[in-house]
């Protein structure tokens, strides 16, 4: 909502400065978005006069001008290309070092084709007044040389723009803003004086509401008046300026008057040329397929839920949104019908939104226009039309629905103010604020007010709304801040289990050299399909782009896309991870927390790139498996509860991948190399070692405070190495598991430290070397005791894995 300082002062008697007004508007909830003071904006642009013009010697299209920039001073020389330069013309002059807003540059003294040019003569475009750049601005002859130019440009008023929240339609008029400022103590609201015309004759046009008994009709009041014998013309200067100052283009007196009242009183009106109408007007729902050409010169098709103004021949206007070309006033209009109505906000909003029409009328009607302003609007327009265009007014005709909203009455206990805001405000202050805002206190008993809500307020429905009115005017800054009391009992756990998992896992994974990234929750549908997407329900109805259509089933697509991006940008040997939600169905349980990572090139855990003391190694499936184990064990899972499964999802290389489960069915992680076909598809150069862990599926770790008693430390472990030869198809993990089962009591651990194939073994054989760690019951056991246990292990290997001891 834009208005000017002087316009505001027509409704508000005040001595407050612009800055005081701005501060107050912010404080009471009308957020000031912009203040344009032409005196400031145009302070460096002055009036000058061209005293001599000749063609530039070296350029056909340029003029060499002598310009008088101050009385009693020698003229300066300026090179200018405008076609309208001529001797005697008063122009807008900018001296060197002036910032030109329309060009976003500061001009300097410059030599243009051999002639030194001292400054610039400006066009409207250069001053951001309009896009006009065909010539320089021509000021009136009475402009005084050397004076600031803004008053001659018509900018003599400070423009203020406020953002109006959706609940405050009443402040989309200058009068409404003045009322707010008066309530906040910044001046006195001037009473509205308007003439009531009895009418010189009966209005020959009828108005009707045609809604067939709907409880809430799209239009609840429709009134109008004919004015005969008008002479449409250009608006007087004051009216043109007023509209121009807020960025509206003057059209003709009849249109300008309705625009003026829209902005002044927040009362949209419409004027019809009655020579283009039949006699009977009505407000009704549109008929199927009804079309019309609107004032924006576009053709719209109405919907049966749209409210229209129609005559016998069909629709004339989309009610409360936009008028039509067929019935619009023109310069030769002689008889005009002023329409003033009340429309249902929800219906106006729906229509305008569907058709994408933004208009001043829509903006006001969709928020709610003062229900008492229907007649006021007609009378104000009548006075202005008769004054500017002449003519003779008829009586007013009107149609009112039986369910026209009535006055709303609220009970308001004064104690509610302190109950919600924490501050007690004395009754006279409360009373004054409410009355200034237009609330009518009908009665007050035992601290309870009976309040009539003013007709312009549609946002007041309960006690809390009244409290807001009082404290926003009283001053939010006066509310003291008060420490939140400590709850008198033990706090609930502060972090949820999931939060704890998130925080721990994030730093854990990052500590393994991964850089955390965040990618979109929605991805390309094909990518979702490639990575396990199964439910089309997870496809958005209205995605913002084809790259963001479907909720991600996995974190890997985002990581892979980022890997490709980073490779393209010259990075190699990097590790990225993401921790976030994945989506499997729409219901409550359809969302799971996952962590996934990708390593490329030589980005192994403890080593990256070539080192003089270590040979370089590229990432393989084992890095991914190592990451999975490191994370799961650090999160408190028991190594022995984890089962590695030799199968994998389709996006993994089938030979270089596996899964980790809690048992065979309950898979909690995938690891391995990305499938080569995806390496090609995503245009990645190096193989990717990837993992993904389903954090939501991990068992909840129970934290026990009490630790078990401390065992005697064992300081006499015995270490022996054994190597077995087995068939190459027997998984090493199986051999290891068998060995661990051989003597659980005395074997503390077994570690596989070497895998060998080649010389000395058959082609289909491999050798697995293990370190056996034994726990003897007493120190220094007999060699025989050790031998017996090793024999048990060897026999187990022979029996379960067809292994033989390698000598």
């Amino acid at each position: 909502m834009k208005f000017t300082y002087n316009w505001l002062k027509e409704h508000l008697e005040t001595s407050a400065s612009v800055s005081q007004i701005v501060e107050c508007l912010n404080a009471i909830g009308l957020e000031v978005e912009d203040v344009k003071d032409p005196q400031q904006i145009y302070k460096d642009f002055t009036v000058a006069q061209i005293v001599k013009v000749k063609r530039h010697e070296n350029a056909d299209k340029l003029w060499h001008c002598h310009v008088c920039i101050a009385e009693n001073e020698a003229p300066v020389e300026i090179v200018c290309g405008a076609p309208n330069v001529r001797v005697g013309l008063k122009v807008v002059f900018a001296k060197p070092k002036t910032y030109i807003p329309g060009r976003d540059m500061t001009i300097e003294k410059a030599t243009i084709r051999g002639i030194e040019s001292y400054g610039m003569l400006c066009s409207e475009m250069e001053l951001l007044i309009s896009n006009e750049h065909d010539g320089i601005i021509e000021l009136s002859e009475d402009a005084i040389i050397g004076h600031p130019c803004h008053t001659y440009l018509g900018f003599d008023d400070v423009l203020i723009e406020v953002a109006i929240t959706p609940n405050r339609g009443d402040c989309l008029g200058v009068y409404g803003i003045a009322r707010e400022l008066a309530a906040a103590g910044l001046g006195t609201l001037r009473a509205i004086n308007f003439t009531q015309y009895k009418g010189d004759f009966e209005c020959p046009i009828t108005v009707a509401l045609d809604f067939h008994g709907k409880d809430i009709p799209a239009c609840s009041a429709f009134a109008g008046r004919l004015i005969k014998g008008v002479k449409n013309c250009e608006s007087p200067l004051w009216l043109q300026k007023r509209l121009q100052n807020i960025g509206l283009r003057p059209i003709s007196a009849l249109v300008d008057i309705t625009n003026y009242i829209t902005y002044d009183m927040c009362r949209p009106l419409h004027v019809f040329d009655t020579n283009k109408l039949t006699q009977n007007l009505c407000a009704r729902y549109a008929r199927k397929g009804e079309k019309f050409e609107a004032l924006d010169n576009k053709c719209y098709e109405a919907d049966i839920h749209d409210c229209v103004i129609a005559d016998d021949s069909g629709m004339l206007a989309l009610a409360g949104v936009i008028g039509g070309v067929s019935s619009s006033t023109e310069m030769d209009t002689q008889n005009v019908f002023i329409e003033s109505a009340l429309f249902e906000p929800a219906i106006i909003a729906k229509t305008a939104r569907r058709l994408g029409i933004m208009s001043d009328a829509r903006q006001r009607f969709e928020r709610g226009v003062d229900k008492n302003s229907v007649i006021l609007g007609i009378e104000m327009a009548t006075a202005l039309i008769i004054d500017i265009c002449g003519g003779s007014p008829s009586t007013i005709v009107h149609a009112v629905h039986k369910n026209l909203p009535s006055v709303q009455v609220l009970e308001f206990p004064l104690s509610e103010i302190e109950r919600l805001s924490g501050i007690s405000i004395s009754e006279p202050i409360v009373k004054n604020i409410l009355e200034q805002l237009g609330f009518d206190i009908k009665d007050s008993q035992d601290g309870i007010y009976i309040i009539n809500v003013p007709s312009h307020r549609y946002d007041i429905a309960g006690k809390a709304d009244i409290v807001e009115e009082i404290i926003r005017i009283y001053g939010l800054e006066k509310i003291p801040s008060l420490p939140l009391p400590r709850l008198p009992y033990i706090c609930k756990p502060l972090l949820t289990t999931e939060q704890k998992t998130i925080q721990t896992t994030r730093r854990l994974v990052a500590a393994r050299g991964f850089v955390e990234m965040m990618s979109w929750s929605f991805i390309k549908h094909e990518d979702a399909l490639r990575f396990g997407h199964k439910h089309d329900a997870l496809k958005l109805k209205n995605p913002i782009s084809t790259a963001m259509t479907t909720m991600r089933p996995s974190l890997l697509p985002g990581l892979i896309a980022a890997s490709a991006h980073n490779e393209r940008h010259g990075h190699k040997d990097f590790a990225l991870f993401e921790l976030g939600q994945c989506f499997h169905s729409l219901d409550n349980n359809g969302q799971t927390l996952r962590v996934a990572g990708v390593r490329t090139g030589s980005a192994c855990y403890m080593q990256q790139s070539r080192q003089w003391y270590q040979s370089e190694r590229n990432v393989s499936y084992i890095e991914a498996k190592e990451d999975v184990y490191a994370i799961l064990l650090a999160l408190g899972l028991n190594k022995n509860s984890l089962k590695v499964i030799d199968s994998s999802e389709s996006w993994f290389h089938p030979g270089y991948s596996g899964q980790v489960g809690l048992g065979v069915k309950n898979i909690i992680a995938h690891f391995g190399m990305l499938h080569p076909k995806y390496i090609n598809h995503y245009d990645i150069k190096q193989p990717l070692s990837i993992f993904e862990i389903m954090l939501s599926d991990l068992p909840v770790k129970r934290n026990k405070n009490l630790r078990s008693g401390l065992d005697e430390p064992i300081t006499h472990n015995i270490y022996r190495d054994l190597a077995f030869v087995v068939d190459e198809n027997i998984p090493a993990g199986e051999v290891l598991e068998s060995l661990l089962r051989a003597d659980k009591k005395h074997v503390k651990d077994i570690k596989l430290f070497d895998v060998y194939q080649g010389k000395g073994l058959a082609d289909n054989e491999k050798s697995l070397a293990f370190e056996i760690i034994l726990m003897p019951p007493t120190p220094n056991p007999e060699e025989e005791w050790i031998g017996n246990i090793l024999q048990t292990i060897i026999r187990t290997a022979e029996k379960y894995c067809q292994a033989r001891l390698r000598q």
């Binding site: 939140l484 609930k492 990052a510 965040m518 782009s545 080593q607």
Partner: protein, 363 residues
Amino acid sequence: MIETIITEMQSHIQQLGKIVDIAEVERLRVKVLGKKGIITGAMKVLSTLEPQERKKLGIRLNELKTEFLQKLTATKMLLEETYLEQAILQEKVDVTLPVSSYDPIREGKIHPVSQGMEEIIEIFMSLGFSVAEGNDVETDYHNFTALNFPPSHPAREMHDTFFFEQDSEKHGQYLLRTHTSPTQIHTMLNQSPPYRIIAPGRTYRCDSDQTHTPMFHQVEGLVIDTDITLSHLKWVLEIFCKTYFEVEDLDMRYRPSFFPFTEPSLEVDIQCKKDKKSLQIGTGNDWLEILGCGMVHPQVLKNVGIDPDNYKGFAFGMGIDRLVMLKYGIPDLRAFFEGDLHWLRHFGFSVLDIPCMYRQAKQ
């Protein structure tokens, strides 16, 4: 006989001082103290002597043996030391050879939004809040209706909110939550008052330009009890902003505003200094809007079955991404979700930079 042995011992003791080869020391030890050595031989001779003579010479011989042993040990130690020193002189490396420039702890980075989220949680936990969570996929009821959005509210349009085709069983269309506020509803429906929670998470709106991304992060706050007022809201937000931005005397401004689910509603600005290149929080004469808040609307309380005449409280919501940009001077929101390593390494946080309220004081 014994006299010869004594002379021989004396000569060996003298000899010890001259030995330079450690093997020679050992040979001499065997010669003197070995099983077939001089001392053993002397013992045999002694046993043939008269007791008086035996005692006298025995003592003498023992003195010599002790002297020999002492000198032997000393010589051995001296020689060993010399040997070690010489051997060490052969052991030499080039200490200027570089160590690996890579260390996983330094290489790993935490995303600024994660860091910000943890910082925010940390501060609110110190004020007695606990953390609640909600799903990204929500229903029309929880995202709008329960929060007092009228049926025709523009936020419910396709150009504002992401929808799914399918309807939920009881709660209207499925959609991506447009704010973290549905967590308020879930919390109030599933637990009984009082409430004191924050709920961080991802939120979505059909918006994409220089300063908006279709996905962003918010944190919601909700405090409901019988005695909570706007005064408490002010205090909580003041403590939060001052702690988060690490500015003790941060000026804040409250402006009345409008949200369907709060009444009265407020917007909060913080003091800042803007110029073309930078934005500084806690100084200057400009204001920067950072959050919206208010007293929970009585209708919202009624919707979850709480009596608004008995219970009351406040709610607030703020954009985490923006808070992070402001605190750490990160210019471009869109880069947050691009996964660009150059950006992540520059703006990301160290693994060891664990949010803690008692950070190093500002200089």
